[in-house]
Each structure stands twice: as structure tokens, then as C-alpha cells.
């Protein structure tokens, strides 16, 4: 639940999603849901020469289950806050 809320705070930021087939897509995060499915707008692929498959599309829906990494700018993340929140969540789960 926490990571879902975290992703919601990244809405309208530019992120790069690396898929489990090595395709990397950069775009503006438009929405995220409980499965961590991601909607990206204004997309571009990392290596368009090798991956021309996404030429005719501008926005896409990525299934959460195929995401390997999400890369984001460090300035968009309050690491201390996130650290505290994850620890609190673990502590609450143990109760």
C-alpha cells in the first residue's frame, strides 16, 4: 500500500520504466493503480533504432507485472520520509 501511495506522489513527474524484456520507456506518469500498473504520456523509448515498435504511440499503459525498475529524479523523492514510512509500516504489520 505504501509503495502505491509513493507512486501516486510521483504523478506528473517524468520517469523511466524498464521492462522485463529490456525495453526502457520514458514518459510523464499519468496514473498508477493498486497493481502498480502505470500510465505514461509523451513516451519515448531509450533506443529507438533498435526498438522502432513504439514509433506510432504517444501514451501507454504498462502492466505492473512486467516492470523491472522505475527510475526517477532523486529530487522528487523525500528519502528520509520514505525510510520512516517503510519502517513504520513494518512495525505496524508486526503488531
Amino acid at each position: 500500500m505504501l509503495i502505491f501511495s509513493f507512486f501516486k506522489t510521483l504523478t506528473d513527474q517524468v520517469i523511466t520504466v524498464e521492462l522485463k524484456n529490456d525495453l526502457s520507456i520514458t514518459g510523464t506518469l499519468k496514473s498508477v493503480d493498486q497493481f502498480l500498473n502505470i500510465r505514461l504520456d509523451g513516451i519515448s523509448v531509450e533506443d529507438p533504432e533498435r526498438h522502432p515498435h513504439m514509433m506510432a504511440v504517444r501514451n501507454c499503459f504498462i502492466r505492473g507485472s512486467v516492470v523491472r525498475y522505475v527510475r526517477m529524479a532523486a529530487k522528487n523523492v523525500d528519502t528520509t520520509l520514505l525510510e520512516d514510512a517503510t519502517r513504520r509500516e513494518i512495525k505496524d504489520a508486526k503488531k
Binding site: R50, H53, M55, V57
Partner: protein, 92 residues
């Protein structure tokens, strides 16, 4: 994904296949109903091959990406001249 209904979408499957069709319906598990599907087969030997498939129901487990096709832009692309390796399959 509701904005995609009745639009032309490009679906990338877990095995790397690419299917383009009109999205008729979907559910929470990403199960899709696509009308007038065409598979786009990329290869290095020849241009993109368009294989007509008809009406498809795709089980959500097999879906990796659903992307809205910009039909105006799509019409300007000469797919018979595009050569590329097919997309890799998803490795969990």
C-alpha cells in the same frame, strides 16, 4: 484504460508479439477484447509483416503494454521498409 476504448491500440504481449486492434473492452485483470486485430511481425530479413487475425480476446496474464496508436502518425510510417529485431519476451 477507459480512454482507450474504441481507439486503435497496440498491445505488446509477454512473448514479444505485437497486436494492433480496436479496443472493445477490458477488465481489472487487463483481459482485453480487440476487434479487427492485425499482428505486426518485425524481422531483420524483411519489412513489417501484417497478419490479419480478426476478433481476439487476450487474457490479461499475457499482456505487457497497451498503447494508444496515433492513427495520423501511424499512416505516415512506411512499415514495409522498417527492419528490426522482434521484441524480446518477458523474463520474470
Amino acid at each position: 484504460m477507459e480512454g482507450y476504448v474504441d481507439h486503435l491500440v497496440q498491445v505488446i504481449l509477454q512473448d514479444g508479439r505485437i497486436i494492433v486492434g480496436k479496443l472493445k473492452g477490458y477488465d481489472i485483470r487487463t483481459n482485453l477484447i480487440l476487434a479487427d486485430c492485425v499482428e505486426r511481425e518485425y524481422s531483420m530479413e524483411q519489412g513489417v509483416e501484417m497478419v490479419p487475425l480478426g476478433l481476439y480476446m487476450i487474457k490479461g496474464d499475457n499482456v505487457a503494454i497497451v498503447a494508444e496508436v496515433d492513427e495520423a502518425k501511424d499512416a505516415t510510417i512506411n512499415y514495409s521498409e522498417i527492419r528490426a529485431e522482434p521484441l524480446a519476451e518477458i523474463h520474470h
